[in-house]
């Protein structure tokens, strides 16, 4: 029953594992850097904000108009996230959720960026309505 298999690694196997750790982490970071570069190169500025509640479309707003939108959720609408659109950026001013992560999120304006309020199941995502939102890549 007792798996006391915490044998001390020999110097040799310890060195090998350490080298593998370094390779593994470097490979991981390289993949992430590539993905980040890809996103950075292909992401366009967005022009609308789409709000979904529980995965269902709730409303779409233009990023070009300043406005304040209280988003009510919950059975009696007792939960609230206040969405602010100002100067082409969207952020959550205040929220009644327990974690407050959505209100702490930095303002968003690039396509695909989103603010999530997990407790209230609210997602605010920037979209682009321009026709060329997916550049055609001819291979």
């Amino acid at each position: 029953m007792n798996q006391n298999n915490t044998t001390m690694p020999t110097a040799k196997s310890g060195g090998r594992r350490f080298r593998n750790d370094v390779i593994f982490i470097a490979a991981l970071l390289a993949i992430v850097a590539l993905a980040g570069l890809f996103v950075f190169l292909f992401r366009q500025p967005g022009d609308t904000v789409v709000v979904t509640i529980d995965g269902e479309h709730y409303a779409t707003y233009s990023l070009n108009e300043n406005m304040t939108v209280p988003i009510h959720t919950g059975q009696d609408g007792e939960q609230i996230n206040v969405l602010i659109i100002r100067d082409g950026q969207a952020h959550v001013q205040e929220a009644s959720c327990p974690d407050g992560i959505c209100a702490a999120h930095k303002p968003i304006h690039r396509e695909g960026e989103s603010i999530v309020c997990l407790p209230h199941r609210v997602v605010i995502t920037v979209h682009s309505t321009s026709e060329q939102d997916a550049p055609d890549i001819v291979t």
Binding site: N20, L28, V39, H105, L118, P119, R121, V123, T125
Partner: protein
């Protein structure tokens, strides 16, 4: 029989340590709140310790107890689903890598931390029906690597130094 109850008591103690670490983490200022889900994952120190000292079964039980306790104390049903998915994907990946035995605890911990975030993001994508959340993975993979390093170093130290007789 004595050994078994001693082991259960010891695992309970580990769950308590994981809970305290979760509480300590909740007290830290949220300077990384720009993206949801960025956490140090301090409770994983206890989980990694158990995974290496006992095995997957014990680590799973303690992880689950910890998540239930944290949810009851500071969470809600949504964060529960999210935490469970992250914790189990992370445990699964760490168990496989540990069996393959080509990384040290630190490397395994980094993979565990990154897959913790992958599990959470996938759950959020399913629960909230938005594919755009995939963007978060890029940020979370980097922060996961850093926190995984820290957690792995602490976990390795615990595995090396903490011994209890007859367990």
């Amino acid at each position: 029989m004595r050994h078994k109850s001693k082991k259960i008591a010891f695992l309970g103690l580990c769950a308590g340590v994981a809970l305290v670490l979760a509480y300590v983490e909740a007290l830290l200022p949220p300077l990384y709140a720009a993206v949801p889900g960025i956490k140090l994952g301090l409770p994983n120190i206890a989980i990694i310790f158990i995974l290496y000292r006992f095995g997957l079964r014990e680590a799973t039980v303690v992880s689950f107890v910890r998540i239930v306790a944290v949810t009851l104390l500071f969470g809600n049903p949504m964060t529960f689903a999210y935490s469970v998915a992250g914790a189990f994907l992370s445990l699964l990946v760490m168990t496989i890598l540990r069996k393959l035995d080509f990384l040290s605890i630190v490397g395994v911990s980094v993979a565990g931390a990154v897959f913790h975030n992958v599990g959470q993001i996938l759950t959020a994508m399913v629960l909230l029906g938005t594919a755009e959340l995939g963007y978060y993975l890029i940020v979370l993979a980097i922060t996961g690597t850093i926190s995984g390093l820290l957690v792995g170093l602490c976990g390795a130290m615990a595995v090396k130094r903490v011994f209890i007789k007859n367990i």
